[in-house]
């Protein structure tokens, strides 16, 4: 695996964070299947090493932008189960007071600028966050997560051009899970995804997104360089989503076959494989890993129960937060 030095604590936190994502998604899926969740949601299961490998290379001051498939990024950037499940169920204690839901979920206090229901919609936001960092002399880095399908959006090329021209501290993280809804990537992406970034003079890498240490290692290096003004960077992370495009996409034989799913789930699972590696390295025993998982699953279950009981926002909230307040004092000439 990777060559950056980690201590056991780092390893175990990465493992835990991946398990947290999986546990969150399994519960979200159950909520949907048992008709307890309003609307739809997109599962991150299978892609955990991407979010965790990257976010573990970031500080709370670094920012990320997320996607419609955003629970994984949210957990990886430090969010709490309770506030996440409350958001998923439209409850007042949710991160967005129930106003955002799955597609806009974000623990804003940890630098998550939000999931986004417009494919590619946050590419400008991430790049703008990096522009602000550079302008204000702050050394934080922003990571922009998006899918392979999103590389079809012209906005990406507009913002990469500016990021390259101005050496902005932004990392474009393309989660290539092989599909854009019900369509294979090769049917909708001509040429090479990394070459598209390179054409703008951006250093691009393509790596195995199932290997959390490899992802973390590369990200650490790029983040350090981005902090020094050597950005932007582009990473293509090869990964796979275990579920359908969204929770309701159950019969997917017409666009991908079960064998393919089995190859990834059985042979390339980021959690299982990292678990085995931890065991092999003597970092943790199977029992210890099991205990970690049990504890996380119990926490998730409790959070779900809490969220199911939690209150909806009051009707009076419906027209709150359309506009942010501006302190009248700042609108005076002498302010």
């Amino acid at each position: 695996m990777a060559d950056t030095k980690h201590n056991s604590e780092d390893y175990l936190r990465m493992y835990s964070q991946m398990v947290r994502i999986r546990a969150f998604e399994d519960n979200a899926n159950q909520l949907y299947l048992s008709a307890k969740m309003p609307g739809l949601t997109h599962m991150y299961s299978g892609e955990e090493a991407v979010a965790v490998g990257i976010c573990e290379a970031l500080t709370d001051n670094d920012r990320i932008t997320s996607t419609h498939r955003g629970h994984g990024h949210c957990v990886a950037k430090g969010a709490d189960f309770k506030a996440m499940f409350c958001e998923l169920l439209g409850k007042e204690e949710g991160y967005c007071r129930g106003k955002g839901g799955s597609m806009h979920i974000a623990d804003q206090s940890h630098g998550n600028l939000g999931a986004n229901a417009i494919v590619g919609g946050s590419m400008g936001i991430a790049t703008g966050s990096a522009l602000r960092a550079k302008m204000q002399g702050s050394d934080d880095v922003t990571v922009c997560f998006f899918g392979d399908g999103a590389t079809a959006q012209g906005l990406l090329y507009e913002v990469m051009n500016m990021a390259a021209l101005w050496s902005l501290p932004v990392i474009y993280a393309c989660e290539n899970n092989g599909y854009s809804e019900y369509t294979k990537t090769e049917e909708i992406a001509a040429g090479s995804i990394t070459a598209r970034a390179e054409a703008f003079g951006i250093e691009a890498h393509s790596i195995d997104g199932q290997d959390v240490l490899a992802v973390n290692d590369l990200t650490q290096k790029l983040v350090a360089r981005a902090r020094k003004g050597e950005g932007p960077f582009f990473i293509e992370l090869k990964t796979y989503r275990y579920h359908g495009h969204h929770v309701g996409d159950i019969n997917r034989a017409y666009y991908r076959d079960k064998e393919e799913e089995a190859i990834w789930k059985e042979g390339r699972d980021p959690i299982i494989n990292f678990g085995k590696w931890l065991e092999g390295e003597g970092v943790a025993s199977p029992e210890e890993l099991k205990a970690i998982e049990d504890e996380i699953r119990a926490e998730a279950k409790a959070a779900v129960e809490y969220a199911l009981e939690a209150a909806y926002p009051d009707a009076s909230e419906v027209d709150m937060h359309v506009y942010a307040a501006t302190d009248p004092a700042t609108l005076r000439p002498d302010a």
Partner: protein, 331 residues
């Protein structure tokens, strides 16, 4: 008469027109094998092949632009825009290019294309997948705008849209895809600019668009039980708008409520109310009232979302007040 879903009605309209005219084709995301996430197009690729039912990358401005170019040079594209909210991405191609080409070329070039998309909240899809943005396109000269209110309407309006020589935007209501209505087996088209009077009445006129037609009909039933006779009218197309039918009804009942699922302010209800006020003012006993969606981004939480759109009870309430002359106090 057989009953079919709105989904099936749209599908039939497309299939019939594609059989009739080989220049008609469909372009959009996941329209072929997947038949769109709403499954409205299922089966079309089997009949017409991937050359005429074209899956695109996730590049809305791009494929909208392609459609404009294809339309200008002899094809009749039907663009599938998965959610009405994505219209913001294609406004330049739609409003600066498609809408203006005929005029800017002095009538030399035509852009016969259909943009099919949707509107409607209460699907728990949050602020970026729930908007009803038809007022925006209605503001731009050169575009026509159709708002089907049932399976029957959806089929007839779609067929007319495809044959029209201009860019036409059709907004289907996402929540109505599975709603059934009687639809004849025989071919029919619904002309643009002819409103439909669904129910005659004498005390008040309820003008509703898209899904709000159902809301108005249900309100009319509530009112009927109390002895208030409401006329319900569906304009069908807001551009062109059948002013005559709306004005005649307003002059007859002297009271009007306009109901639409777009945001109320600077929206469709404002336009219709203004035209009636302007041209039937001295016949009115009360101001034309508007009921649009609240001026808030659509909230995810079910506890909030349902508050943002007009309901039959709300419309009936307002109607009662108007009939009772209570709006005088508001003035």
């Amino acid at each position: 008469m057989r009953e079919i879903t709105l989904s099936k009605a749209v599908n039939e309209a497309l299939a019939e027109e594609m059989r009739r005219d080989e220049t008609v084709f469909i372009i959009g995301e996941d329209v072929a094998e997947a038949g769109t996430p709403f499954k409205v197009l299922s089966g079309l690729v089997e009949e017409f092949g991937t050359a005429r039912v074209i899956d695109t990358p996730i590049a809305e401005p791009g494929f909208m632009g392609l459609a404009v170019g294809a339309a200008m040079t002899g094809a009749r594209p039907v663009v599938d825009l998965m959610f009405g909210d994505f219209i913001f991405l294609i406004m330049d191609q739609l409003c600066n290019q498609a809408a203006k080409t005929h005029y800017m070329s002095g009538g030399k070039l035509n852009v016969p294309l259909v943009l099919r998309t949707n509107l409607g909240a209460t699907r728990r899809s949050a602020a970026q997948h729930s908007q009803s943005l038809h007022a925006l396109v209605a503001h731009i000269p050169g575009l026509k705008v159709a708002l089907p209110s049932s399976a029957y309407e959806a089929k007839g309006l779609m067929k007319t849209a495809i044959r029209d020589n201009n860019p036409v935007v059709i907004f289907e209501d996402k929540l109505m895809y599975n709603d059934k209505a009687p639809v004849p087996e025989e071919e029919y088209l619904i002309p643009f600019g002819e409103a439909n009077i669904l129910r005659e009445g004498k005390d008040i006129t309820l003008i509703g668009t898209s899904s709000m037609v159902q809301v108005c009909e249900r309100a009319a039933e509530l009112l009927e039980a109390e002895g208030i006779s409401a006329e319900v009218i569906d304009p069908r197309t807001i551009v062109p708008l059948d002013e005559e039918t709306l004005l005649a009804s307003a002059r007859k009942t002297a009271r009007v409520i306009v109901v639409d699922e777009g945001h109320q302010s600077f929206g469709v209800t404002s336009e219709i109310a203004s035209r009636i006020n302007e041209k039937a003012f001295y016949h009115l006993d009360a101001p034309v009232m508007r009921m649009g969606a609240m001026d808030v981004p659509v909230p995810f939480s079910p506890a909030l979302e349902d508050l943002t759109v007009p309901t039959p009870e709300g419309v009936a309430d307002m109607a009662r007040k108007l009939v009772a002359g209570e709006m005088i106090h508001a003035a």
